[in-house]
């Protein structure tokens, strides 16, 4: 069995240790309450009627039989949403935005993907609700389904929205189009750069739509009380985002909506958007009782927000010595039925591993009759990295240069300006490449027939954004910490560790709780690799607030000015009188009798995030008979900044790698020519199992982020970025094949082998 390494620059007392997580016992005993585990008194169950067509006009909806069915308490359609009774004049420039937001939740005039909600029913139990849903009669007029991203971009394509125009450099196109946006970033002079190249490689790539694959389906329980207050329990990455989105489509004040985040069974970006909350709320308002809605797995595949499929083109030129002289990347990403693919982030990431003099990145946000895409771990970056890192590998091959050395030669570093503008602060790509170079994995040659090794790099910018924390000193010397960031993968632990470090107290004395939207300030999603960084900073700030108040209280007790008192390592002491000192716990005990409790608070919107870089090495074996690719060995190297809890950092890296392996080898949405997904179950959408994998080795390279007191960066996103290219490059070494589309499934590998006449 192989190992995990941590390359540390600085050690701390609590940060960097591996304590047991505060929510751990509840999660190993089954007591933790996830979204579907909410059972308020009087609970009813809701189900959704969904479109069987990928593209059709809704001619009529007849809900009368469903409404009359015994056990049914309420039925809603788009007609129950405020948008239905608002005029275009009233909404002005906001018309299209509110129409899109409402229609995604409940279709009005058209259905735009298979699984698009058309109506919802509440009933005494889920079976009755299901039966009633089948009694709703909908008349459709089918339209041609637009399912290919390249065809969708053509002028003659069927239009998904007749009033959507292409935005390009601040202008809108004259004619409506399925292309919502054309992004364009340029640095230097690529024509000159290609002229200076000794070798130029230009390739096209395709990837298919894939799903985040979280195990817990989307769920929502809503209760619209007779006092006009709406409470929503759901598993979400961002309770405030859900609150605001529901307020928007229901045209209802945020102050009357309380979102209570439950434990969340995975998200990976897919649990940011709202789907079930507004229908559940409207059903509850109609029948006066709480209504729970839970998606089936098929609904999750067909009607939540997967990651886009793509068409991409990469042209890259390099000099004989391996210096990249120019690169031109074009990304066309599926938005799904409404605008907003992650192509913008894709353009930011595509070339950001390298310090280029000349680069151009173009992106297209392309509508197709498929579910509206959502974020998925480093959204937009993995597709682009598959294309760019594959082309770079081919350049290295043509120049007979070592792919790791070429990456070191071109690596982005502090001061590198990315093609789309930002200048890198302290980053750790070169440190990762150096760590990879000296790793045991690269020192041992890959041996055996049909085996090969590949490497690839990956980038994610990481994020800051708003976070809020309050913490109260309990009179027994512990801290009750409240935060708005939901805990998907151990952030209660990482925030408690940073708090304990700052206050100089034991980790076990910090008790974190994730609270609802009425109980804490605005907090952005748990996502984008921001929580340990941004909510960590919020906690550190709140802890500093506690320290300041503790100093003042001690000064009051000692009857001395506060500037004579200092707080260090959990002890409050008089600066000049060594007799006067108290531990945090001793002072906490006196708070009640010296003026009352102390609560620290902090609401922030930090910049200063540190970019994330990763370098992956993989060995594969390709079965020439079946086309199956086996992962023999995998090593992920990543600059995580300071790893607050190394076990959970390793877990993030390993989990990201394995999602990437699935994306590389198996996972894809199969659509028929009518745009209907044909593999909407875990049997047919095959995610990696324990049997498909070896242990995933990790190397955490800690290049401290100067924008955080303990050097914390983001962790979770970047490990999904390199695997597809790394595996493709390994397949090339094993077979000579250059794979240009994902997934590199057995069938596709076999076809490529046959085409090459190699088997």
């Amino acid at each position: 069995m192989t190992s995990n390494q941590v390359l540390s620059e600085v050690e701390y007392r609590v940060v960097g240790k591996r304590p047991v997580r505060p929510d751990g016992v509840d999660k190993v005993t089954g007591r933790a309450q996830y979204g579907a585990d909410v059972y308020p008194a009087g609970l009813l169950h809701g189900k959704v009627l969904r479109s069987p067509h990928a593209h059709a006009k809704v001619v009529s909806i007849d809900t009368s039989q469903a409404e009359a069915y015994p056990g049914v308490t309420a039925v809603v359609t788009a007609a129950d949403f405020p948008f239905a009774s608002m005029s275009r004049e009233e909404l002005g420039g906001g018309y299209q935005r509110l129409k899109f937001a409402t229609d995604l939740i409940m279709a009005s005039d058209k259905v735009l993907f298979k699984g698009h909600p058309v109506a919802a029913v509440a009933a005494v139990n889920p079976h009755v609700a299901e039966e009633a849903v089948r009694l709703i009669r909908v008349e459709y007029q089918q339209l041609p389904a637009v399912i290919n991203v390249q065809a969708a971009m053509e002028e003659k394509s069927e239009l998904i929205h007749d009033d959507l125009y292409t935005s390009y450099l601040g202008e809108n196109s004259e004619k409506p189009s399925n292309v919502a946006a054309h992004l364009y970033f340029d640095k230097g002079d690529i024509e000159q750069g290609f002229g200076e190249a000794d070798v130029v490689v230009e390739r096209e790539f395709h990837t298919e739509m894939v799903h985040q694959g979280y195990i817990e389906p989307q769920n929502s329980t809503a209760f619209w009380n007779t006092d006009g207050h709406l409470t929503i329990w759901c598993s979400t990455q961002g309770s405030f985002m859900i609150r605001n989105a529901v307020a928007d489509v229901l045209q209802f004040p945020i102050s009357k909506i309380k979102v209570v985040p439950t434990e969340i069974g995975g998200g990976f970006g897919g649990k940011i958007s709202t789907y079930l909350e507004a229908p559940a709320a409207l059903l509850s308002r109609k029948c006066g009782q709480p209504v729970k809605m839970v998606m089936t797995r098929t609904e999750v595949f067909e009607a939540s927000g997967p990651a886009p499929g793509s068409w991409m083109k990469v042209k890259m030129g390099a000099a004989k010595d391996g210096l990249i002289t120019a690169a031109h990347v074009t990304l066309a990403y599926e938005a799904g039925a409404y605008p907003g693919s992650p192509v913008m982030a894709g353009t930011s990431c595509a070339l950001s591993c390298y310090d280029l003099q000349n680069g151009r990145v173009e992106g297209y946000d392309v509508l197709v009759n498929k579910p509206k895409t959502s974020a998925y771990r480093a959204p937009g970056s993995p597709q682009a990295a598959f294309a760019v890192e594959s082309v770079l590998d081919e350049i290295c091959e043509k120049l007979a240069l070592d792919p790791l050395e070429v990456r070191i030669k071109n690596a982005a570093k502090e001061g590198t300006r990315r093609v789309e503008g930002p200048v890198a602060r302290k980053i750790g790509l070169i440190e990762c490449l150096d760590a990879a170079k000296s790793h045991d994995h690269l020192k041992k040659p890959v041996q055996g027939k049909n085996r090969g090794r590949g490497i690839a790099c990956g980038f994610w910018m990481n994020r800051g954004f708003q976070s809020s924390v309050t913490m109260t000193v309990q009179y027994d010397g512990t801290i009750s910490l409240l935060m708005g960031s939901v805990d998907i993968g151990g952030t209660r632990a990482s925030i408690a560790q940073q708090t304990a470090e700052t206050l100089g107290i034991a980790y076990e004395d910090v008790h974190p709780t994730v609270v609802d939207t009425d109980s804490i300030g605005f907090t952005f999603v748990t996502g984008g690799s921001r929580t340990s960084f941004a909510t960590g900073l919020a906690a550190i700030g709140a802890a500093e607030d506690v320290k300041e108040q503790m100093v003042k209280r001690a000064a009051q007790i000692w009857d001395t000015p506060a500037e004579n008192v200092e707080y260090a390592d959990g002890v409050i002491r008089h600066r000049s009188d060594p007799e006067l000192q108290m531990s945090f716990q001793a002072l906490a005990k006196q708070l009640g009798s010296t003026g009352g409790g102390i609560t620290g608070r902090n609401n922030i919107d930090p910049s200063g995030e540190g970019n994330g870089y990763a370098v992956h090495i993989v060995d594969v074996e390709v079965d020439q008979e079946t086309g199956k690719v086996d992962i023999l060995r995998y090593t992920a190297v990543q600059d995580a900044g300071k790893a607050v809890h190394p076990s959970y950092v390793e877990g993030q890296m390993q989990g990201g790698v394995v999602q990437g392996i699935g994306w590389a080898l198996n996972e894809e949405y199969f659509f028929n020519d009518q745009g209907q997904m044909m593999n909407s179950s875990f049997l047919d959408y095959r995610m990696p199992t324990s049997l498909d994998l070896p242990m995933i080795d990790t190397v955490i390279v800690e290049v401290a982020n100067p924008g955080h007191p303990y050097g914390v960066k983001g962790v979770g996103e970047v490990p999904i970025v390199p695997p597809m290219a790394a595996i493709s490059n390994a397949i090339h070494q094993a077979t000579g094949l250059r794979m240009a589309s994902l997934p590199m499934s057995p069938g596709k590998i076999l076809e490529a082998l046959w085409e090459n006449g190699k088997s």
Partner: protein, 157 residues
């Protein structure tokens, strides 16, 4: 609405009577009727293992078992592993080895692992990977889960 059937079974060592519709799965009854929500629903078609329970000594996906089929059976769910004295060694190992992130698949993995270790207390990595292939985890990449089961073998001795 179909008539209700009286079912008598033993759940986590306690004789339990419940009424179920013939169409209700064991998973549905555990959660909706008996309040045992530790058993999770991930797919409801037997492909993710989040609802794994032990039925008369064998691990099963409780979404694929009709509740009325459990008449006279013994069922162990995640709620039946820890005692007042503390966690089961498998639970302890998952906790200490950071073998969970979001935790939704964790009850299924722990119950499935118990099903293995009850019969094969010295299962090796390959055997554990094979046994747990019916349980999907999307967060961890399985690495720390496999290590936790190996660690649980040591803790059990």
């Amino acid at each position: 609405m179909p008539g209700l059937v009286h079912v008598q079974t033993t759940i986590n060592g306690v004789q339990t009577d419940f009424l179920a519709e013939p169409r209700q799965s064991l998973l549905e009854v555990l959660r909706d009727v008996l309040g045992k929500t530790g058993t999770k629903e991930g797919c409801n078609d037997g492909n993710c293992g989040a609802c794994t329970v032990i039925l008369d000594g064998r691990i099963v996906d409780s979404c694929l078992v009709l509740a009325v089929e459990t008449q006279g059976s013994e069922v162990t769910t995640i709620e039946g592993l820890a005692t007042a004295d503390g966690l089961h060694p498998i639970q302890q190992a998952f906790l200490e080895q950071a073998a969970l992130q979001c935790g939704i698949c964790t009850p299924g993995f722990i119950v499935a692992s118990k099903g293995l270790l009850d019969q094969e207390p010295d299962a090796d990595e390959a055997r554990i990977r094979h046994w747990l292939a019916g349980n999907l985890c999307r967060c961890t990449g399985y690495d720390k889960i496999i290590r936790a089961v190996l660690e649980a073998e040591k803790l059990s001795k």
